[in-house]
């Protein structure tokens, strides 16, 4: 029994030495590396460095008015396009616009040379794609029930008709709230399901009924943290009045 004990002891000690010695040493080395390096965090694939070196960002644009409007000829317009333009100006680089379908654009982040994808993207959609990372959600869009001026604000929908515009598929959510979705905006329909920033333009007031919240992000290659930090700094500085930009670009 003593022998058994003697066998156990050295193994324990060796393991302890490994952990108590190696881990703190690694930690110190990493801290030292961090301290003598001004660029922190850094990109595993050097996106930021490459962009600055080549004086060019490749931006995939997905047509999604008013976030991104891709015309048949010429450069894209839109609320997000403006943000990217000021980002490029800040970095002092040219923009290479690439109009692409959404899945092709997002997959291109890991397969191709795309540095940034915009087009009214929402966080969960981007997170599904391998190789794609997201910025923080710089704008929360709320799909709400709007009410015509002069009508009382409803607490619940109670079977009332709600106009659902064809470009925003929300009819199931309206039904879940007890409403009756319709695609005809007639005189007797006083309610409409719309994003919160678009109510004013339709002359509607906002009720307290929220159908859905959409967290808007831009997409970057996964893990490119220096690149992400630069982009997020700009978003934090410029995305505050984002609903104004959306209203400017609505058709």
């Amino acid at each position: 029994m003593r022998q058994w004990q003697a066998l156990q002891q050295p193994r324990l000690t060796r393991r302890r030495l490994f952990f108590q010695g190696c881990l703190p040493t690694t930690l110190l080395c990493l801290l030292a590396l961090t301290a003598c390096d001004f660029q922190y965090p850094r990109d595993p694939k050097k996106t930021l460095e490459t962009v600055l070196e080549q004086q060019r960002i490749v931006v995939a644009v997905i047509d999604h008015p008013p976030w991104v409007i891709v015309p048949d000829a010429g450069d894209p317009r839109g609320a997000e396009v403006e943000l990217v333009e000021s980002f490029a100006a800040e970095l002092g680089v040219e923009i290479d616009w690439r109009p692409l379908p959404s899945f092709t654009a997002l997959r291109g982040l890991s397969r191709g040379d795309i540095d940034l994808v915009i087009g009214g993207l929402e966080q969960p959609d981007v997170q599904l794609i391998t190789g794609a990372g997201t910025t923080y959600s710089y704008f929360e869009e709320r799909f709400v029930i709007g009410v015509r001026q002069g009508h009382p604000l409803p607490e619940a929908l109670d079977g009332q008709a709600v106009f659902v515009p064809p470009e925003e598929p929300l009819s199931i959510l309206v039904r879940k709230q007890g409403g009756r979705p319709t695609d005809q905006m007639s005189a007797e329909v006083v309610l409409a399901a719309l994003p919160h920033w678009d109510l004013q333009a339709h002359g509607l007031q906002r009720s307290s009924i929220v159908l859905r919240r959409a967290k808007h992000v831009m997409a970057i290659p996964e893990g490119e943290n220096a690149w992400l930090m630069r982009l997020e700094r700009l978003l934090r500085a410029q995305a505050a009045d984002f609903d104004l930009r959306l209203r400017e670009h609505r058709e």
Binding site: L27, L31, P41, Y136, L228, E232
Partner: protein, 339 residues
């Protein structure tokens, strides 16, 4: 007399109450750690691993509280031996949980490496300044490192006093927690340098350490339930109390030969003593006296059955010291013998 009516002595009962309070406070602290790590985990594999490990650390204290509560229930017609063995079960539950999750974590971080997933960690705005979120993660990990070390130390003493293996395993897990936190910090710093793999490797090291503990404790818990010779609480040697009993028997002039068969019943010991005695001995009074004497050797002595014999059967194995991890020889399978 039914020995199962014996309860913990006053001093141990007080220690037990203290240990229960300690675990209760620890559970609350642990919840705050779990919340802090959860809120800052983001996309880091090592943080996720540390979080699961912390959430898992809830199992032993909860198992301890449940077991010490059930242990106090009265024996009844359905469970005539009482509920003292419940602490052996809680020990097994805690250690299997530990090992199982470690395996899950190793698989999870291996997949991260195979798929070459890069952790995306962005910025956060705190009081108007934009910070890398990695720093927040590191702060949370630092917070998760300090309390377990303190609580781990506090739990060692009651665990020894109460001979409580669940509490002992828990104390050790807590003391090892600082390594987990540190490995997590290394992982996050690694991501910052652009070593996307650092995080998953750190997670694997954490998981390997957890697996080691889980495996060690699962083995010890299974051994207990297999009626292994009682061991000390740290599982390092056989219980010296057995030798005391043997010495006590050897000192008696009317006992010619004796053989002991003891096993652990939760925190207690119970077993049988086979005796070959001198001519005309023993009288029932003498046996009762002997039983009382042995039970009063230590509070852990829960129950002994003393059986006088004309001669002792040859035991299957030699006395203590036999490892016993071999199959029985064919001609002896099915034979029973006293240890």
């Amino acid at each position: 007399m039914s020995s199962y009516e014996r309860r913990l002595p006053e001093a141990q009962r007080r220690t037990l109450r203290r240990a229960q309070w300690l675990q209760l406070v620890w559970i609350l602290v642990l919840f705050s750690i779990i919340a802090a790590i959860y809120l800052s985990a983001g996309n880091s594999q090592a943080m996720k691993t540390a979080w699961i490990e912390d959430a898992l650390s809830l199992v032993p204290p909860i198992a301890f509280l449940a077991a010490t509560w059930i242990e106090g229930w009265e024996p009844n017609a359905r469970f005539p031996l009482g509920y003292v063995r419940v602490s052996s079960i809680s020990y097994l539950v805690s250690s299997v949980a530990l090992a199982g999750v470690a395996i899950f974590l190793i698989i999870d971080s291996t997949l991260t490496l195979i798929r070459t997933e890069h952790a995306t960690i962005g910025s956060v705005e705190i009081f108007g300044t934009t910070l890398w979120f990695g720093w927040v993660m590191i702060a949370a990990l630092l917070y998760s490192v300090i309390p377990p070390v303190i609580f781990g130390r506090l739990k060692m003493k009651p665990a020894r006093e109460l001979h409580d293996k669940t509490l002992w395993a828990d104390a050790f897990m807590n003391k090892a927690d600082w390594l987990t936190g540190l490995a997590g910090i290394v992982g996050v710093l690694g991501i910052g340098i652009g070593w996307w793999w650092a995080d998953a490797v750190a997670a694997m090291i954490i998981a390997a350490d957890v697996l080691r503990d889980g495996f060690k404790h699962t083995r010890a818990a299974i051994h207990d339930l297999m009626d292994e010779m009682p061991k000390t609480v740290d599982d390092s040697e056989f219980e010296p109390l057995i030798d005391q009993v043997r010495a006590h028997l050897n000192a008696l002039s009317w006992v010619e030969e004796s053989r002991l068969r003891f096993s652990e019943e939760g925190r207690y010991l119970a077993g049988s003593i086979f005796l070959v005695t001198a001519e005309g001995e023993p009288t029932p009074e003498r046996l009762e006296q002997l039983e009382r004497d042995i039970l009063s050797l230590h509070w852990r002595m829960l129950d002994v059955a003393i059986m006088p014999r004309s001669k002792l059967a040859q035991p299957l194995v030699g006395e203590m010291g036999e490892a016993g991890l071999r199959p029985l020889p064919k001609d002896r399978v099915g034979e029973s013998g006293a240890r």
